[in-house]
Amino acid sequence: MAHDPPNNPPISGPPQCARCPLPSLAVLRLHPLCPTHITQYIHTKTIKRLETFRTRYSSPNDPPRRLLLALSFGVSSTSLLQILDLHLAGQRERVGRAGVEVRVLWVRGFNEGEEGKEEGEGQGEGRMQRLRERHPAHEFATLELASVLNLVPGLATSLLPNPDLDASTPTSHRLDALLTSLPSASSRADLKRTLLHRLLLHHASSTHCSALLYGSTTTLLAERTLAEVASGKGFALPQLITDTPATTSEGGVQILHPLRDVLRKEIQIYASLVSPTLTSFLIPEQPVGAKAVVNSRDATIEGLMRGYFEGVEEGFPAVVSNVVRTVGKLQVQPKLEREEKVADCEVCGLDFVQEGEVERSRVCGGCVRMLGHAS
């Protein structure tokens, strides 16, 4: 006896989109969706995270708030720019103005050098120029990663005990020397990320941006959660992974990850649907398999977690989201005991608990490990 339900989709061809009669392109969270609805889904998930910046049309004279978008030319941050761009264009069309202003910042010297070959400077500039033409409504800026050593007060002194390299040495040389002095590829990757974050925050604050936007997806945040735990920075997970609340303090910058509810593979599908295509802007990603080799000298904790979560995302996407959600349940501040106080680490700038008599605890445990100051 045949039990075929009525309206059974034809055996060949993709199932119908869950929201319209068109054929679906991919299955997102159990729902087959067509290209239009995939795009809509990603947009909704992203814009929802920016609730604090919803335009209040009641106060037309307020200057629009500024958001700083950290661009890496990876698929996530480039897609985030695309999403924001479309969202703001829609706003302008509907009410004549956009509620926020987006500034895009690319930091040179961060992504390059992963496999020893630097992306040519011209190439980066070329990408930047083409992206600027594509999104003329936004301001674009470029900074050197090494410049953070001069910009953030005190950072250079806590990082560079080497007296030969004083302030007269170009920052790029000082950064190179610093990176070479580190004990492992993991430490180098950690330091670059730490410096990048400090530079972005500094820039956001000094250009009066209310928030710093990262393109981190759920998958990336889950990877970073485990990587930070493995680097001794479990204490700072809420500061690193969770969106921070809006600050009212002068120069205070909110840190947001608008793609935090979107998986990496979902943003990849989204990016493939964007027209005109995004691919020419993206820095091609290395296959993860190569990064995950743990026996090589270049293996990093970050790369290990990347490879690990690639597998988890494939088979168990909800587990990936669960990791990030779990971090969201942690409090920012620990319960302090006597003789303990919270200070901000001179290297990473994160709040940590200074324990009693520990000498020179101006640097948190995670950074001590990163810098490899044994003893």
Partner: protein
């Protein structure tokens, strides 16, 4: 390259490269240092009272064997005056526990320590072999884990001991930290990183016939900072006799996954094992109060699980999380009955968060719960709280929906064991087993 000298004595040839600080040292310096470090952990956290009677949970495996040897040595050297005894659980698994118990017996003789073996057979009337014959290979780890928790407490009570030390090492704890992050289980994460965990006082709990008096059994992990590698090296250099086969069941999915990750991390940066432990301890301080307490809890630090189910646990959790996500997006919300009316002032918006949380805990508890082995004979096993149980003792559906906030510990009506429900989990499981028992034997028509 010429052989290096030991960094400590500058005399012998260095044989050992320490993972935690890359020091190259010789074997005698290593064993001395290893002992000294365990002593420091014990002394800095005031684990023992002078003259205290302490049971060492002994499985015959490397960790508990090393722990027994180190404690015996230190007790004499540091003059702690401890009264040490070995406590073993015999689950009744032929081909596994019988051999490891032989190792424990040899150790007891070598170290000249008294040994108490408590068997499932005598406590419950069922050995694990019989349980497996009854319920099959799937899900039997739950039984084993639940029984083990009580068995240890009862064994401690029989010995008149209020403190059981276990062989959990840094690798185990790091693994548990990562595993519970993956599962979203903050209470367990917090518990795994505490050196001392204590069953809340159950001193007044006496069984009806007065057979067993429960005491407040304190558990501690003196080797929480010791690398598994170093434990193996210590056992090797001290020529300790241990049994190294794992339980006949394969690892549970989450733990297996976390274990591989820890081993890979160790290869990339050996220090990261201790960094994970430290991170876990720091994160425990960030766990909100209402999530923190899991009085009737298990430290999931064993390595057992059901071979047939490898991957099953993660898949089951995935399904539950997804269903919940669907429910959340559709705005249906899973029907969650918050256990207490006082919580009604919570915003509606948090209901979804609750539902997820419940599902996560449920998933975690559904089957892997009891799946710890060996050392975990030292780890009590527990189940999700069932606040509803009083009204609906048989409501399996209802019990799973509740959150585990503040548990009210009472005692089991049947055995007097401390339990947050009217009947403790072990008695519930036993009831099920016993009900089915006659059928297996007769089976005529």
């Amino acid at each position: 390259m010429a052989p290096r000298e030991c960094e400590i004595c500058q005399n012998n040839r260095a044989q050992i490269l320490r993972p935690k600080n890359h020091a190259r040292i010789c074997a005698p310096c290593f064993t001395a240092l290893f002992e000294q470090e365990v002593a420091e952990t014990i002394e800095s956290s005031n684990l023992f009272q002078p003259g205290e009677r302490v049971a060492i949970g002994a499985s015959g495996g490397k960790d508990s064997t090393v722990l027994a040897s180190v404690l015996k040595t230190l007790n004499e050297r540091q003059k702690w005056g401890l009264d040490l005894v070995l406590l073993s659980i015999d689950e009744g698994i032929t081909g596994y526990r019988d051999h490891s118990l032989e190792a424990v017996k040899r150790n007891a003789a070598d170290l000249d320590l008294p040994l108490k073996i408590v068997s499932y057979q005598e406590l419950y009337g069922w050995s694990m072999d019989q349980v497996v014959a009854q319920i099959g290979k799937k899900g039997n780890c739950t039984y084993c884990g639940v029984f083990r928790r009580q068995a240890l407490d009862r064994g401690a009570a029989m010995l008149g001991v209020g403190h059981v030390v276990t062989g959990h090492n840094a690798d185990d704890v790091a693994e548990t930290v990562l595993m519970n992050l993956l599962r979203g289980d903050l209470p367990r994460l917090s518990r795994a990183t505490s050196i001392v965990t204590s069953t809340p006082s159950a001193a007044k709990a006496k069984s009806a016939d007065g057979k067993v008096t429960m005491t407040n059994v304190k558990r501690s992990k003196p080797m929480i900072y010791a690398y598994e590698k170093e434990i193996v090296m210590y056992a090797h250099h001290k020529k300790l006799d241990y049994f190294s086969t794992e339980c006949i069941y394969s690892p549970e999915a989450f733990r297996g996954s976390a274990r591989t990750l820890i081993k890979n991390l160790e290869r990339i940066r050996p220090e990261s094992i201790l960094d994970v432990v430290k991170s876990g301890m720091d994160m425990a301080r960030l766990v909100p109060q209402e999530q923190g307490a899991v009085p009737e809890e298990v430290e999931m630090t064993g390595r057992c699980g059901d071979a047939k189910e490898s991957g099953g646990e993660m898949a089951a959790m995935e399904r539950k999380l997804q269903q919940d996500e669907v429910a959340a997006t559709n705005g249906i919300g899973v029907e969650i009955q918050l256990p207490r009316s006082s919580k009604n002032d919570r915003e509606l918006g948090s209901a979804h968060a609750h539902s997820r949380e419940t599902v996560a805990l449920k998933a975690a508890n559904d089957h892997p719960d009891g799946q710890n082995h060996d050392r975990d004979q030292l780890a009590p096993v527990t189940l999700p709280t069932r606040t509803k149980m009083k009204q609906k003792p048989a409501g399996r559906g209802a019990e799973k929906r509740t959150l585990p906030p503040k548990q009210k510990l009472g005692q089991c009506e049947k055995c007097g064991y401390l339990s947050s429900q009217a009947v403790c989990k072990a008695c519930m499981l036993l009831e099920g087993l016993n009900k089915a028992r006659p059928h297996t034997g007769i089976e005529v028509g």
